[in-house]
């Protein structure tokens, strides 16, 4: 067994160097593909970082209090909300404060001058931890007896849902792109293996004639495939790691308002993903390749 493994590794190594041009072409193509895959992962990660920042902003909800609600009732509900584990903070805004806020917003300029008295509700500004929980807090508020029945909250379910959906679609598109990239690399590995098999057809013929088992003949090619995938993954990873921080810095200075940041912790997860992907696609491509081209 050990002897066979040694033989397989030796042959794989020799074959890799013997078909250096083809091996290098495969390594480079797969490196490119894995770089694309890595960029895909990095962009996905950056997007979720940005989305997290964005979530903070939209995860606020204002509950309008009807004018005839007694103040103790409002405090009571405020405390109830504050005790909710999904809620980060609750702030009570009186009618006067609400009016001041409204008037100070330049967007409301003309409208503010036409206001007679104070038609605005007092409100509870609630900050929710997770964007997905805003809807639940909204529902809870609508059931509260003190809420203004004509205009209960400022919750715009549609918008929030659309944001969530968009991020899901983007994730899906990223995953689909990854799958396509991986399929392409599997095909590339298959073709390298075909070339390697062609170069070693004489040796394979002799192996068959002296009674080598099918997997003894196939083993070296599978190892060669895994080697190709791993080398490509290592190169892709190195290039990505080297350029990650400068690119983020550059991006930050150019488009400052998007809260993108360099995340060194993500590198280790990227490394695992890429190396695993390299090894797996190498193994898969060469496995399919030898099953097709190495028969006894």
């Amino acid at each position: 067994m050990l002897r066979n493994l040694k033989f397989a590794f030796n042959s794989a190594w020799q074959s890799f160097w013997r078909n250096l041009a083809v091996s290098l072409a495969a390594v480079l193509s797969i490196t490119l593909i894995l770089i694309l895959a890595g960029i895909n992962l990095l962009v996905g990660h950056a997007f979720s970082q940005v989305l997290d920042g964005f979530r903070d902003k939209v995860s606020e909800i204002s509950i309008n209090v009807s004018d005839d609600t007694p103040l103790p009732n409002v405090y009571d509900f405020q405390q109830q909300l504050a005790a909710d584990p999904r809620v980060t903070s609750v702030k009570f805004v009186t009618k006067d404060e609400a009016l001041t806020q409204f008037k100070s917003d330049p967007q409301n300029g003309v409208l503010a001058q036409q206001i007679d008295g104070n038609p605005l509700d007092a409100k509870l500004d609630v900050h929710v931890k997770n964007l997905g929980d805003v809807a639940a807090i909204d529902a809870k508020a609508r059931q509260w007896s003190g809420v203004d029945p004509t205009d209960p909250t400022n919750y715009q379910g549609d918008f929030v849902n659309r944001m969530l959906q968009l991020s899901q679609w983007l994730g899906l598109a990223g995953a689909a792109l990854l799958v396509i990239l991986l399929i392409v690399s599997v095909v590339i590995v298959m073709n390298t293996i075909r070339t390697a098999v062609y170069h070693r057809r004489k040796e394979i013929e002799v192996m068959k004639l002296v009674g080598a088992t099918e997997w003894f003949v196939r083993g070296p090619f599978v190892i060669e495939g895994i080697m190709t995938g791993l080398v490509a993954a290592a190169i892709a990873l190195a290039l990505l790691v080297i350029s990650y921080e400068p690119v983020v810095a550059r991006f930050k200075s150019d488009v400052g308002f998007i809260p993108l940041s360099y995340d060194p912790a993500f590198i280790s997860s990227l490394a695992t993903d890429l190396l695993l992907a390299g090894a797996l696609l190498g193994a898969l491509g060469s496995y399919i390749g030898v099953r097709r081209y190495v028969r006894i």
């Binding site: 002897r3 004639l209 009674g211």
Partner: protein, 247 residues
């Protein structure tokens, strides 16, 4: 000591109404029936394109018969599972006209290759390779590369490789086809010696002098059919009126 093949016992090789038609439509073999007892030494003769190599390829299960059955050592080759094939091939030593040596390996490594492939331990490989090289009188050439050997020496290496796992069958397709008469004769002596030790030998050949001199079993194939099967035959049916074949 020469073992006399025992035609009364169950044959180790048996062809029963074997047909082979290639995907191209060529009918290479038609209704071939053949029985070979253990220890036999037989020549397959016939013009080029008669179907000798096809018969050999069927025998080592490189091809399957289109119709009919082939039994070797009690196993029907056409129904043998693919994963059993390596085990079967280890029982068979193969020798070809073009030697099929690996040019980047030395004589020693070429012979050892067959045993490496089977995962034999190093000390056993060393002993068996030495023995096989001794049998073919190539001791001392272990570290030479095939390109630096004569044709006869290369064929000896190939025979040593075929002998490395002590096969019960030696199957050879024109093993002397590339060799001059004197060398061909030496190689033939080698096959006789291997046969004398008990291996069954099936050899396709064009070498008329040798066939006529040895007077062993001769099976003549013509256009895919067995035309003649003589227990101690000659290359042509009758020396008195040799047949001239138009190509």
């Amino acid at each position: 000591m020469v073992l006399t093949p025992d035609f009364a016992t169950r044959p180790v090789i048996s062809f029963q109404h074997v047909f082979k038609t290639y995907p191209t439509g060529t009918e290479a073999l038609r209704d071939v029936n053949l029985e070979v007892p253990e220890g036999d030494f037989l020549f397959l003769v016939g013009p080029s394109g008669a179907g000798k190599s096809t018969l050999v390829r069927l025998l080592i299960r490189e091809e399957k018969p289109s119709k009919g059955k082939i039994f070797v050592d009690g196993i029907e080759l056409g129904r043998m599972k693919r994963r059993r094939l390596p085990h079967y091939r280890r029982k068979v030593g193969l020798v070809f006209q073009d030697f099929k040596l690996l040019p980047n390996l030395t004589v020693y490594e070429n012979v050892a290759f067959a045993m490496r492939v089977l995962g034999d331990p190093d000390h056993e490989i060393q002993a068996r390779v030495a023995e096989a090289l001794d049998t073919v009188s190539l001791s001392g050439k272990e570290h030479t590369y095939p390109a630096n050997l004569s044709g006869g020496e290369q064929q000896r290496v190939a025979i040593a490789r075929a002998l490395a796992h002590a096969p019960r069958f030696i199957i050879a397709d024109e093993p002397t086809g590339n060799l001059d008469p004197a060398t061909a004769w030496e190689i033939m002596q080698l096959f006789l010696r291997i046969n004398a030790r008990g291996a069954t030998v099936v050899m396709a050949t064009h070498n008329r002098e040798i066939v006529d001199l040895l007077r062993r079993r001769v099976i003549a194939i013509d256009a895919g059919q067995i035309a003649r099967d003589d227990r101690s035959g000659r290359y042509h049916e009758d020396v008195a009126k040799p047949q001239v074949r138009v190509q």
